[in-house]
């Protein structure tokens, strides 16, 4: 789901191996928070029909929320495993290693399931020359608008978002720090005294 220029990201996905690409794009989707996004994506997945696995990134690079994955899993009523480092399929079950702050946990779930994947889990392959050609010459990125989905208009875009942005601002610049340029021994002493004065040491 994204603006028309997201086409390029989908072409790249085709070039490295995706068989089919669908872009949900419509002004009606704009301004969606994570709940409305999960609803729109989930509605598209339901339209696609039978599926085995939904893979999401750990979190987006702009919003950093990490919320759409679990919200989508809940909407689809399927198991979720987040922060996945390693994944295997055995006997039609997902086996995944999850990385927590201080431990690693092995989980198992039936398909279909949703996983959110950490950056370390896999190195994306490079697109092949054939892949790149196929992405731009042979395959199409399908465009789905609101009318193509079986969705309740009140649950998408800004109207379907319980949260809204009240204000956007630049972070207050920190007061100018002190730069210590003395020779190492003196500099270490000055730093120690400053930290002690701030009750840190």
């Amino acid at each position: 789901m994204g603006p028309p220029q997201a086409d390029e990201a989908l072409r790249e996905a085709i070039a490295i191996g995706a068989d089919r690409a669908i872009l949900l794009t419509d002004r009606a989707f704009a301004g969606a928070d994570t709940m409305a996004t999960a609803y729109s994506l989930g509605s598209a997945i339901k339209k696609i029909g039978k599926y085995d696995l939904v893979l999401c990134g750990r979190q987006a690079i702009d919003g950093d929320t990490a919320q759409v994955g679990p919200q989508l899993a809940e909407f689809l009523s399927i198991p979720q495993i987040t922060y996945v480092l390693e994944v295997n399929i055995e006997d039609n079950k997902i086996i995944a290693i999850q990385e927590l702050e201080d431990k690693r946990v092995k989980w198992e779930a039936n398909l279909p399931a949703l996983l959110t994947i950490t950056a370390e889990a896999n190195k994306p392959r490079y697109p092949s020359a054939y892949g790149i050609m196929s992405a731009y010459k042979e395959k199409e990125v399908e465009i789905w608008e609101m009318k193509d989905l079986d969705v309740d208009e009140k649950r998408i875009g800004m109207d379907g978002s319980p949260t809204s942005v009240k204000r956007i601002f630049s972070p207050e610049p920190k007061g100018k720090g002190e730069i210590i340029k003395d020779e190492p021994k003196k500099a270490a002493e000055i730093l120690f005294n400053r930290l002690r004065a701030k009750n840190i040491l």
Partner: protein, 402 residues
């Protein structure tokens, strides 16, 4: 929430039986769908039914009466029977907000044999603790925690519900918010109250900390947020503080479990808990190689801290990934962060700029890290750090004598 089946509309096609992940619905002898005890009211059948015979009572904007919601809840995350630091920080912040609104602070504590943690939450400022003690909740499991907390939330109706933005909090809170159908704001670094409207103002960084956004959730309750660990102070415990511990018997069973915990992996080396550290000494490309990490380790040990690293150092294989600070690593906010030989790319700064005091040691005076440092030493870290270590050792010895 509740599921209703209209017997007159049901065509007996059985699609609901196929889609149900819980075996919670079957066709009766008249070929009409009926709900079974295993139904979790997940709603999968509602969308699947081609004749709209199944409906779910969903809370929608305008329908919910927000005046019925009161009190501030915190999720009391415990790991291995201990409260996390962020769990206590949340109670401290909730106390401040609750005093503005004139409402109660209540903590939700799930686990097994963890009753004594309830007292700790009360000492930190909670008025009530909902203690949900059950052997099945001993370790965190998404589906059981979601079910138990969702039931409690729907019954007691808090107006605000905050979670630590830990991996557990960020696994649980979105699943829960989606089930309750309310708003959730991720990874907040400031929470205040709009006193005229009584709304929670939730401020969070976006685009790697380049901009800040204040988010509100006006028409849905509870207003849910995850909060970045370390940005709020841990309250001082008041050992004489009294509160109520309310025992809750959760309505959970194995049938709710979708993802099964197989085991905790044994690791050769314990993973470092950077998020909980009060002091972090981080090394970057300027350390030149893995053989120089013991130098910053010695400094970290003297300060009672842990070792962090930039992505460059981790990618070079000098130190393991669990030490990485930054947008694709860990987000930390210790009292003291010392960056050694780290230039301070935006991705690194996103993970540590909320630290209370930042010290940078770098030989390049133009390194961006100096822009956010409270104290910067321009110099060769291989000369500066040993001097810093000897100053610390000397003062330590002196104090021991005194």
């Amino acid at each position: 929430m509740a599921i209703y089946i209209n017997r007159d509309l049901c065509s007996g096609c059985g699609l609901c039986v196929e889609i149900c992940p819980f075996n919670g619905v079957k066709l009766d002898e008249e070929d009409v769908a009926i709900l079974l005890d295993a139904c979790t009211e997940c709603g999968a059948c509602v969308d699947e039914c081609p004749v709209e015979a199944i409906s779910i009572e969903v809370i929608k904007e305008g329908v919910i009466d927000i005046s019925k919601y009161s009190g501030i809840w915190t999720f009391a995350e415990q790991r291995d029977g201990k409260l996390t630091r962020v769990a206590k920080q949340l109670v401290g912040k909730a106390r401040q907000l609750a005093d503005i609104l004139g409402v109660r602070v209540e903590s939700v504590l799930l686990g097994h044999n963890i009753a004594e943690l309830a007292q700790e939450l009360i000492q930190c400022g909670a008025d009530n603790v909902y203690l949900v003690d059950n052997p099945m909740l001993e370790n965190y499991q998404t589906d059981l925690y979601t079910k138990a907390i969702c039931d409690l939330t729907m019954e007691k109706k808090p107006e605000i519900f905050i979670f630590g933005a830990t991996h557990m909090g960020r696994d649980l809170a979105p699943r829960l918010a989606q089930r309750i159908q309310t708003g959730l704001t991720a990874d907040c670094t400031e929470l205040t109250i709009d006193e005229t409207e009584r709304h929670l103002l939730q401020t969070r960084p976006a685009f790697g900390g380049n901009i800040m956004a204040t988010i509100t959730c006006k028409n849905h309750r509870p207003q849910m947020a995850t909060v970045r660990p370390g940005v709020f102070r841990e309250p001082e415990k008041d050992l004489s503080r009294k509160g109520n511990v309310i025992n809750i018997k959760p309505d959970i069973s194995k049938s709710y479990i979708l993802s099964r915990l197989v085991k905790f992996l044994k690791l050769e080396k314990k993973l470092v808990k950077l998020e909980e550290a009060e002091v972090i000494v981080s090394g970057g490309r300027g350390l030149k190689g893995p053989e120089n990490f013991p130098l910053i380790q010695e400094l970290a040990d003297l300060l009672g801290g842990e070792i962090g690293a930039s992505r460059a150092a981790v990618d070079a294989g000098w130190i393991s990934k669990d030490h990485q600070v930054g947008q694709t690593g860990k987000t930390v906010s210790p009292k003291l962060y010392i960056a050694c030989g780290i230039s301070g790319a935006i991705q690194h700064r996103a993970g540590m700029q909320a630290s209370e005091t930042i010290v940078a040691i770098n030989k390049d005076p133009d390194a961006p890290i100096f822009k956010i440092a409270d104290f910067g030493i321009v110099g060769d870290l291989f000369k500066v750090i040993p001097e810093l270590i000897s100053v610390l050792k000397a003062k330590k010895e002196k104090e021991m004598v005194v």
